[in-house]
């Protein structure tokens, strides 16, 4: 019998729809796989066996149909799931069960997708390796001694380890794409406002974007279509039709890119990357040219300021967003033993509940917003953001999409970048500009460097998510997929 965990979401959906297999069988296969390999991978913080099987049974009973009905999914633990623990990988939310579903979770449920569980991540999505999870890191299925990327390392690793065919991620500075790149999976950051943030525990409100993760471009597009779309509960949600990403992926799969102009970002095509990453990127460009694409070198001079601007804007917003975790209404409460004042309890709770990287960013953000420093830091970063947006806009007057490696380096060994925050921040060097601009971007596997996956990033104009899917699907058909060693 076929191992159901090795199939794509598209083929699983077809088999379930044709009753060749049941949704319960598919879900059970993945739950069993989790039980077998997750002790080594640690992609999940919580597995909801009963909830997933209940949802699968509803599909088998014919209550729900649809393009992904019965296909199980893993959800990053920063997204609220009603009655199912949601911690954002932080001690401060240990055991918290939200009384409500995020909009995107509601949509998954409505689409008949059993939710297998909640995936590991860097605490409050702050990090690029999952090493900042309060519950221990996730191990990269390609090499268990290496990081799976972050913050959404759990979702990416779950895909690479065949624990789930699809996963939800969130991308603030690269948290979907960089884990996708280092685990050899696909990860898309939709246009900001294209997917609802309602129920996504906020890190940086103006940057956070939930998005789909899969092993193939087509699967990712299918999930994109299910989760995206206007939500009146999110004021920043865009009230426009979702771009037809499924059609675009199918178009790209045919392997014809004639007339498509790819802009290679000059500033990202050189020294910053490992040689193996650069050579895989260049080979991919050649493959795309063979499919008819035209390569244009584009300069985006302000991209070099993206990283510092990001590390002012995101922590500033985070310092405010995370203020609500004070032990008063939910989650951890420390020091409430009668000998401490209310203020002290709030302070002790935050001291004990937040990890080092979260504290670092709260302090940076608090400082950047302080009176007397606001203009120099937060204000200046907002100006840079405007300049980066202009770089994108003028680039898209010349080309259809921009391309770059997703991340400058392949999966690195644990502990190799935790001592110097800047070394960790470099992981998102190429992904951050898109978040500041608000456009969509996707990472698709494009080759291996010393046996580890390399990601190829495609960036598109806002609300033109379909363009990146077309190019991604074409590249995927040209370079094939990459399978990790058996666990």
């Amino acid at each position: 019998m076929t191992d159901l965990t090795r199939l794509s979401a598209a083929s699983l959906a077809a088999k379930i729809a044709s009753k060749e297999v049941s949704a319960v069988e598919v879900t059970t296969a993945h739950l069993d796989r989790i039980a077998a390999v997750d002790p080594r991978v640690h992609a999940f913080l919580h597995v909801d066996r009963e909830g997933a099987l209940d949802a699968a049974r509803k599909v088998d009973a014919g209550e729900i149909t649809g393009p992904l009905a019965g296909v199980p999914i893993a959800v990053k633990d920063v997204v609220t799931t009603k009655g199912v623990p949601t911690t954002a990988a932080s001690k401060i939310l240990e055991g918290w069960k939200p009384p409500y579903d995020a909009t995107i979770v509601e949509r998954l449920k409505k689409a008949g997708m059993p939710i297998l569980g909640k995936t590991n991540m860097d605490e409050f999505a702050m990090g690029s390796s999952t090493e900042y999870s309060a519950y221990g890191a996730t191990n990269n299925p390609w090499d268990l001694g290496r990081i799976p990327g972050g913050s959404g390392g759990g979702s990416a690793a779950a895909l690479a380890a065949y624990e789930a065919p699809l996963a939800i991620g969130t991308d603030t500075g690269g948290s979907i794409r960089q884990p996708g790149a280092v685990t050899g999976t696909v990860g898309a950051k939709p246009t900001y406002g294209g997917t609802s943030r309602y129920g996504l525990i906020a890190f940086s409100s103006s940057l956070d974007t939930p998005g789909p993760c899969g092993r193939t471009v087509e699967d990712t597009a299918l999930l994109h279509s299910v989760m995206a779309g206007y939500d009146p509960r999110d004021s920043t949600s865009i009230n426009q039709p979702v771009p037809d990403v499924i059609k675009a992926a199918q178009l790209g799969k045919n392997g014809d890119l004639s007339g498509v102009k790819l802009g290679v970002v000059k500033e990202f095509a050189g020294d910053g990357s490992e040689p193996g990453v650069l050579s895989a990127f260049k080979d991919s460009l050649e493959a795309l040219v063979k499919l008819g694409a035209e390569i244009v070198e584009v300069s985006c001079p302000n991209f070099q300021y993206a990283l510092p601007a990001y590390y002012l804007i995101a922590p500033s917003e985070a310092s405010s967003n995370l203020a609500r975790f004070d032990g008063v209404r939910y989650g951890l409460r420390e020091g409430d033993n009668g000998s401490h004042s209310l203020e002290e309890v709030m302070s002790l709770t935050r001291e004990g509940g937040f990890g080092p990287e979260v504290k670092r960013r709260i302090i940076i953000g608090t400082y950047a917003l302080s009176s007397g420093y606001y203009d120099a830091y937060y204000g200046q970063a907002q100006k840079v953001r405007t300049l980066i947006t202009r770089d994108f806009q003028s680039a898209f007057e010349q080309v259809d999409v921009l391309v770059s490696p997703t991340t400058p380096f392949v999966a690195f060994p644990f502990g190799s970048r935790t001592s110097d925050p800047y070394q960790m921040y470099l992981a998102d060097l190429f992904t951050i500009p898109t978040n500041l601009y608000g456009g969509p971007a996707i990472s698709v596997p494009c080759g291996l460097s010393e046996g580890l996956p390399v990601g190829f990033q495609i960036m598109a104009p806002t609300m033109a998510d379909d363009r990146m899917y077309r190019v991604a699907a074409a590249l995927e058909s040209a370079v094939g997929s990459f399978t990790p060693p058996e666990l």
């Binding site: 004021s235 920043t236 500033s316 405010s320 209404r329 917003l369």
Partner: protein, 493 residues
Amino acid sequence: MTYEEILTKYEPVVGLETHVELGTRTKMFCGCKTDFGAEPNTQTCPVCLALPGALPVMNRAAIAATIQIGLALNCDIAEWCRMARKNYFYPDMPKNFQTSQYDEPLCVEGYVDVVVDGKEYRIGIERVHIEEDTGKTLHVGGATGRIHGATESLVDYNRAGIPLVEIVTKPVPGLGSLAPEIAKAYVAELRDIVRALGVSDVRMEQGSMRCDVNTSLNLPGEEWGTRTETKNVNSLRSVERAVRSEIIRQAAILDDGGKIFQETRHFQETTGDTRSGRSKETATDYRYFPEPDLVPIAPAPEWVAELKAALPEKPSVKRARLREDWGISEVDMQSVANAGAVELIEETIAAGSSAAGARKWWMGELARRANELDVDLAAVGATPAQVAALQKLVDAGKLNDKLARQVLEGVVAGEGDPAEVMASRGLEVVNDTGALTKAVDEAIAANPEIAAKIRDGKVAAAGALVGAVMKTTRGQADAKAVRDLLLERLGVS
């Protein structure tokens, strides 16, 4: 130094920040109800409890109400502005930041004219902005009900997220000794304006309108002094008292060669003075920044024009109209307005009273009573309907003036409506002619000389007999009826 002496030496500068809780059906950023007095934490949801992941969505009705307030205060309406986060930790503020407005308020540059002692003063409005209210903390256990010594702190989030409009005046110099009265008149005018818009019930006693008063003193020709901000000013009368007591307090310090510290002070209803709050507050850095969870507010010019066209009659225009209707002088009308009695009298008339009767009760007996009780007129304990009912009883001859005052006293004391008080206290006018005739005959018999004089045509002497009858009927007779009957019995009429 007396207050008058202080004001010959120092010049006060006064500024007011007034919060008005809007009467929208739902909260500012979520669909929760805003009913007053509901069970604690029954009007809450993930958004107003700031559960992780919840997001705000702007209440359009609240924006409309704010724009209308701005328009009614002669403000310019911003074409584009943003909400901002005001960051500070406080347990009754679920997000630990307040969603407010900072350097981009929705309405700017307006004014309000008020008249005190026949003179008009223009109070400049610096800004009108929209923000959200906080929850309420209750400290349980311990002796004082305050945080010190309390064993539990309980928070009710029903109020959290209710839309608040903040109206900030420019600093107003040059008011002299009338500063307290003018400050009060401004708040009364503002209240009438907002009430006329129907966007809030603006009840200071329920907290739906709250004032912070900024006061400073300077010597003539010198720079403005350091200001203090007095919070907890919860009635019109308190506005006046807070300004006055702060002027007196600051003058005493300055005269001693002392310095005024910029600080938050709290008004004490019982003593009428202000006490220092936490001076630490002045050091708070709110780290304002634009609210990233909400899109900017960009009211379409057509919408603003629509809201402007829908503005109701201005209270000053309305007062001119009512003055005509009621047939009173401008000075009388102004004292009605400054006493906060316009609506009360209007509603009393609407409930069936004569204009003169309504004004008489509210500006006389009830104003005196409110003064004694140290409360606003609206909170004195009588409603317009009750006052109208009282006046109707007088008009029907069932109460005379003296009895009516006693009935009103009972109403204010919470004994019920006028009819109930009249019955329970046995205060009806005696107009049973049998009983009256008996009393009159007895008076005639007891005073034969006076009766003879009246029979001889000295009608003026009747007063003494009327008095005697009134005495025996313990004032419950109608004096005119007694007189008529007396003259009839003596064959003079």
